[in-house]
Symmetry: C2
Subunit: 320 residues, 2 copies
């Protein structure tokens, strides 16, 4: 059994250890393809909680023993080549739902931080207070657009509606009439959503289809002063288009939980040019004890289910 990623409470693997599995932990946090191939030698169950990519080549080289990849999180598409796994007979599971509360709560916090432009006021102390150039609005007076109405997006929409009385619209591949009625949210095509929103919240998993979904075309519709809150994966937002939009003043402040690769030129440009208009944290939204425990337990159950030939609710194969 290979277990990758940080913040993993190894005691939760006891059910698998009782079945004779020996957990292996890699020395390094970010494994290259070749390192991952070496780590997967003789591995039957692979709990993926890191940043490495289980490509077709990796999975193929592990196929003699590997039976299941349990991804710790929802958006596995960028980390596990699920079609390749399916072709090789390797099951892939995820932990959908486990971190919904954590990510939704953290995102609400970041929406509030963005709304108050808190980066400008952190550390301000009387009598040297900075007077705001422009007062923020109450959330109840804001139009908030949510891109992606999955479990987390729905939870965020619900809190914004019921707790703060915000005007919430959404875009999603499929319309959700029941959620619209229950929460009082309205559907808008993506470009219209970008145009109407004072705060645009991005909450879709990263896939081939969603990568750079917020592109120059979408950002061209954004009005000056818009706040962009992306607590999903950074790559949903195309960084060159974001830079241009921030240069124009359309996106006034951008929130990221995780950021573009440090060594990329555009990441450097964004940080150099708009440091005080970026609110960046290091991928911490889902990292609560309860969410991590829930993810681990769910992954352990999925591994057990797959290996004993039972049903598992978290197989991602049927979605391919």
């Amino acid at each position: 059994m290979l277990v990758t990623g940080t913040g993993v409470d190894m005691s939760l693997f006891e059910p698998l250890e009782r079945r004779g599995f020996v957990p292996r932990r890699p020395d390094r946090q970010r494994l290259s393809e070749d390192e991952l191939i070496r780590e997967l030698k003789d591995v039957v169950a692979y709990i993926h909680g890191g940043e490495e990519r289980a490509t077709e080549r990796v999975l193929s080289s592990a196929r003699r023993t590997l039976k299941v990849v349990a991804f710790l999180g929802v958006g596995y598409e960028n980390f596990v080549d699920a079609p390749a796994a399916a072709a090789l007979g390797i099951a892939v599971t995820n932990t959908a739902g486990a971190a919904t509360d954590s990510v939704a709560t953290f995102t609400i916090g970041q929406i509030i931080n963005a709304n108050w432009r808190i980066t400008q006021y952190l550390g301000n102390r009387y009598p040297d207070w900075t007077n705001p150039l422009e007062l923020p609005h109450e959330l109840g007076a804001r139009k908030i657009g949510i891109v992606g109405l999955g479990a987390i997006g729905t939870r965020i929409a619900g809190i914004l509606r019921t707790a703060f009385g915000a005007d919430v619209a959404y875009f999603s591949r499929t319309r959700k009439p029941e959620t619209e009625a229950a929460l009082g949210v309205t559907f808008r095509p993506l470009h219209e959503l970008a145009e109407r929103s004072d705060i645009l919240v991005v909450m879709v998993p990263e896939t081939e289809k969603t990568r750079h979904m917020i592109d120059a075309g979408v950002l061209a519709r954004v009005r000056p002063g818009t706040l962009l809150v992306n607590t999903a994966r950074p790559a949903i937002v195309e960084p060159t288009a974001l830079h241009a939009s921030m240069m124009r003043g359309d996106v006034a402040l951008a929130v990221f939980d995780g950021f573009y690769a440090r060594d990329s030129a555009i990441a450097g440009d964004l940080l150099d040019d708009f440091g005080d208009r970026l609110l960046v944290t290091g991928h911490i939204a889902s990292h609560t004890r309860e969410a991590m425990d829930r993810m681990m337990r769910q992954a352990v159950r999925s591994v057990e289910n797959v290996l004993t030939g039972g049903n598992d609710d978290h197989l991602v194969g049927d979605r391919l």
Copy 2:
């Protein structure tokens, strides 16, 4: 008419200007007693939105013309000597309720920031993420104690219960059985509340009675790792006792919106010793456009009511 404070949209005073009032704005933000006496010369209506103190001496010197002090905010006690005003026949009003949504929303954001220890993770960027030494808990798994169940405290409690499913208890001078039943919150004496709370939220106005209410005795009951969120006035928390508690590790992180006077030794000690465990903003919780507009309009109506001899809902005299 004297109008103090920043972020004031002077166009809202048009109803009073139509009645012949000429608004006067002081040059300086923080007026001394003598400066305030000079500014109040010939003034009939005084809109108090600054940090100056309308002491008995100030009010007494203005009594020939001054008819009404309209305080922009709730907790006037520290800024207007209301008993002295009453004795001089000067009406005092506040703007209770106007900023409830803003302060409650901002406080929720700061609770989330404190819970994730966001100060440690701001600006973190892949691949140099700091791995949390200790994962935060979900809000739904936290015991939150609210000191003060006025309008804002009640709103915070409601959001924490309904949106995040937190376990919420409160302390207040008077028990509120209806709120307890409606929100599912429980009353605890202050010391017990301090002992049971993972997150202690302070939301009382500053008065002679509440100043240093969170003192060494209360902080002695706090368990190690507790988060203290004070978006009310700084002085509710006794700073020397806070320093000792943070030194012990009982208060792990403290949030302030506004801070102790910069030139005080204890403010310096707190900042020097616990800079990364303090999350300080410059009194911005209530500073939204909607809250400020509502406060101004309410103050203008109160001034009109008082000067025309009508009733006003926001006179604070009956509470003395």
